[in-house]
Symmetry: C2
Subunit: 332 residues, 2 copies
Amino acid sequence: MPELRKDPVIGRWVIISAERGKRPMDFPHKTEKLRGGFCPFCPGHEKKTPPEVLSYPAIPGDSTSEWSVRVVPNKFPALIIEGDLQRKGIGLYDMMTGIGAHEVVIDTPDHGKSLADYDESHISNVLEAYQSRLRDLSHDKRFRYILIFKNQGEEAGASLEHSHTQLIATPIIPKRVIEELEGAASHFEIKERCIYCDIIDQERFDGRRLIFENDDFVAISPFAARFPFETWILPKRHESHFHKMEPAQRLQLASLLKVILRKLNLALDNPAYNFVIHTAPINDRKDWYFHWHIELMPKLTQVAGFEWGSGFYINPTPPEEAAGYLRNLKLD
Amino acid sequence: MPELRKDPVIGRWVIISAERGKRPMDFPHKTEKLRGGFCPFCPGHEKKTPPEVLSYPAIPGDSTSEWSVRVVPNKFPALIIEGDLQRKGIGLYDMMTGIGAHEVVIDTPDHGKSLADYDESHISNVLEAYQSRLRDLSHDKRFRYILIFKNQGEEAGASLEHSHTQLIATPIIPKRVIEELEGAASHFEIKERCIYCDIIDQERFDGRRLIFENDDFVAISPFAARFPFETWILPKRHESHFHKMEPAQRLQLASLLKVILRKLNLALDNPAYNFVIHTAPINDRKDWYFHWHIELMPKLTQVAGFEWGSGFYINPTPPEEAAGYLRNLKLD
């Protein structure tokens, strides 16, 4: 019997269709080969990107050494940094000038590598770059939100194959973030507890949707997962803002992220994936009841379209099965 | 300068990124070839589907003639029709048994044809089949909503290439529908007018986003379109429920749908697409302020993933350009 399950934060129902049950080997996908051609993100081609806004040297403290992580403005930005934020009504409609920032974190100088291949300290440096840019951009009073996301692999929408992460600062708060903030606020009003802290407690106690945990972080298959092998990573200690994560905790996140990505790569034959960092809005808002986390979605099914049109998802892999499979997978 | 635009009904902001401006020829896509193999939807294979729940004969009134439209239960249903609707809490979480209906409208006996190839009276018959099933299923008191959608082409998620439409009856109202109902209700409270009627008025007066209209229907590129060439089709006369459309109006819709699909096929080289019928919930609810419509989304860009994670969309084709292009396209 299939089940209908409700996301406890934003109230979205999904169909978990065990009858169509899919195991990892049931998802056919093209193994991506390196596409080759000129890469503007490779060392030696630094002049092909706009001037960098941040760079970490390969040898810490030695700025003459090669870079290991590099942040540059996007050459084809979706939003533009220069100009005034102007609001306008057109009859019924509202619009704003497209003011914002659009940056690219080049995760590595090595064209063939992806996040899962780096050692923990390098992953931690990448995360530190995210935090640093978030902190810096949050001083710009025109911005209300900074969205950090990674498209890994062509099927997940990456237009360049050299591993990178994108950061978009917007003068609005994305709808999904507002929904999560409202869901968390309404739970807090009734219970005087954080809903994500409650989720972590229940998942660690229950265990069926738990994939992996270490001292500071936990990785779960969410109860109302929209996609097969969708994975959420949450800090155990309540914190609303990603950029406030401390160095020791960051290393723990790097370590857990590496485990999760390696498990997904092993289970699903190096799938394309997206992740999005869900953090509270920047600036003065009092969103301490929010709990930052990462949502990671392997791109396994061609289910787009009707889901966009309806907000309704059918997931052929029960999250308990996905979590059980990943939990029991041995890494060498 | 890019623009941020807000959907007036559900409040979602999108980036309209004219700098990345895309014209129809900029969307590379694989032309779909017939995949071949055994097709359970073709005439002569009727035993390979569950017994039909509705069928229209090719010669009206002559039930001994071949079928021209046929509706069958989905052989691999996402929701199951038999059983009681049971609600359950699991700690923090809510779930329900997966009770519902999942049917397939086989649009045509002709394997190689798609909706755009039929004549108007056949398209009207297909629409009538949707209405008839909607009406019938709405007598089942366990159901709250009936979702009708089409995935055309492999890239849009169609698992069988023989043209068909799906219908899912659910014991919940999908999130996106709730958002539209709330948006329409809140506009009505303030203005005492239907927001979709206001949109139609403004678009017909403005003209820049108007693609095509006839006596009873209008096709527009929505102001805050999420996708290139996204198209909405709305009845000019206010009506909340799709299944209440009358035969004369249905023929008008069939005629407009054919024009729009032919224009999209010509402009975008037979793109894969999805459409979703947005209609008010069935049964006793008083949703007369809602205005049913069809949202049609050609599948041109590989932008899934971060959009799912954030609810935030970047559209490289301004809706004015898409509408202008389609409006001026001559059909022979």
